[in-house]
Every structure is written in C-alpha cells, then in structure tokens.
Symmetry: C2
C-alpha cells in the first residue's frame, strides 16, 4: 500500500467559520464535497482535536469561505496552524458577518451551512449540512489543495484528513 496514491485525490482550500459562546472561530479544511444538488448539502471532515469541531457541534452552524489563488498566505497560516482555543483568528482577519457567521473578505465565494447530521470516525467527524445561503464574491480562481502544495509550497498540519507523516 503506497499512501502517496492518496495525494492524487483533488480538493479545494476552505476556511470553516463558526463560533463559541464569546467569539467567532474557525480553521482550514480541504476535505469538503457537495453531497446532493437538491436540496444542496455538503459533507466536511474535521479532526476531533480541532476547537472548530466542538464549536460546530454546539452552534450547529458554520460558514465555508472558498479560498482563491490570490489569498494572502497569512490567512492559511493563521487558520491552519494555530488553535482557535488560544487565538482569536477572525480578530486579525478582514471579514464580514452574514447570518451571524464570519466570512473572510478575501474568499472568492462563501456558503452558509446548517448542521443536519454527523458521523464519528476514528480521528475526525464527518459533518453533514444543508446550504442555507451561498454567493460568489469575486473572480479569483479557487485554490486547489495541489496548488497550495506545489505552487505556494504549503504543508499539511497533523490534524488534516490528508496528512501523511
């Protein structure tokens, strides 16, 4: 079994935004797919150790910000490699608020999602959600996970579903 074969699967790059009792929080995700077209639903994998996981379970709602190729790499650094437990990530990131959820101003599109089901796996939760609202924000090309690795030379944090030691 050559786990490098798993690097041949394709993904986008997203900021998942949600909130705890006091403030907005979120993290980077790549493992996200649409499940049904009508009504529109998605599935998303988030590590049990991510603070965002607990916050989605409690608030039952989240935003998806689709990152474009022109995204400031600092956003990926902030949302991908720090814990929302210790850092107020959105305080240092330009964002607007839609349906009481945070949207990074730089994202090329966003989705507002309502949790409808979840499946617990060994290290991650699959969150299944309906899309309540969505909009294109600019013409930037969506960043792929491959672009992030090969062009930006980015790395995957240990909590990623696609992490290879």
């Amino acid at each position: 079994m050559d786990k490098n074969a798993l690097n041949k699967l394709s993904y986008g790059m997203y900021v998942v935004g949600t909130k705890d009792e006091n403030r907005f929080c979120g993290c980077i995700a790549n493992s996200l797919i649409q499940i049904t077209a009508e009504p529109p639903t998605i599935a998303l994998s988030i590590n049990h150790n991510n603070y965002t996981n607990k916050c989605i379970k409690e608030s039952k709602e989240f935003s998806i910000c689709v990152l474009g190729e022109k995204t400031n790499p600092l956003i990926i650094g902030t949302f991908g490699f720090r814990s929302a437990k210790d850092t107020d990530k959105f305080a240092n990131t330009n964002h607007k608020v839609i349906n009481n959820l945070p949207i990074c101003s730089e994202s090329c599109a966003y989705l507002i999602c309502k949790l409808i089901n979840s499946v617990e796996m060994s290290t991650h939760t699959i969150f299944i959600a309906s899309i309540e609202q969505c909009e294109i924000l600019n013409n930037d090309t969506p960043m792929t996970y491959s672009y992030y690795h090969n062009i930006i030379k980015g790395k995957s944090p240990k909590n990623a579903p696609t992490y290879i030691a």
Copy 2:
C-alpha cells in the same frame, strides 16, 4: 442564494468500479474526500438512481480509479453518461483486476475500498469506506472537475451531486 457559488468547490474526477452478480460495473464520481489519515478512510456521494449505488450496497466493496488529464474522453462518456444496467462498461475499457475489482488501465492511481458505513440523503448515498490497498500507476496529472469543465468542455450528468440545471 446563487447556486453558481457551488461551482467554486474543487473536486477530482474518478471512475468508481464495483460489480453485480455477473460482471464489473461502475460510474464517474467527483464528490470524494479522504476522511481520516490513520486508518485511511474516504467518503463518496453516489446517486440513488445509479446502478453502481445498488452494486456497492450489495458487494460492499469498490475501487476508485483516479483519472488523469490525459484520460481518453471516451472513458468519461462511457462511465458518466450511460447506465451500467444496460452497458457492460468495463468490457469496452482497458482494465486490470486487483483484489477482484476493476481498475481502468489509464488511471494515474487507484484505491481499493471496503464499505464500512453509509448515510442516506435525499437523492444520494454517502458511502464511507476504508482503504485496503492503493498505488500510483503513472505520472499523469490528476484531472480536476474544473479541468473537465473548462478545458475538456465536459458537462455534468443529472445524477451528479454537483449538477446545476
């Protein structure tokens, strides 16, 4: 709600291979993600109306063939726009057999998957599977869903999770 925002999500292009009592069958899928790294698992969305859906439920196993940019468009035509109920798709497609599952010879990598759970949604099933075996077959660049639409000028069939009327 502008559903075109959903076109900003990124995917790869895959042939899902499985079997009924008599022969191999399969279809094209794009909504596929890795869920956990250790043990490696994936989730996949397949329409209830696809014959492949019924066959995965019965055989409890399937292969994922990762299509590369050099894939012959006939493969996408055969697997994406015909029903495996009426057409023996693999009979007309170069393939090899690994763990009793069909692998398109042209694919740049493959995964052998064992069904461990499923979630029924309105029009699609989310299949959750463990990866039993995987391998890189060649250096072709994985085809993204965006490449399929923008470069090959391909369309989505009505059964796709990402279909927009």
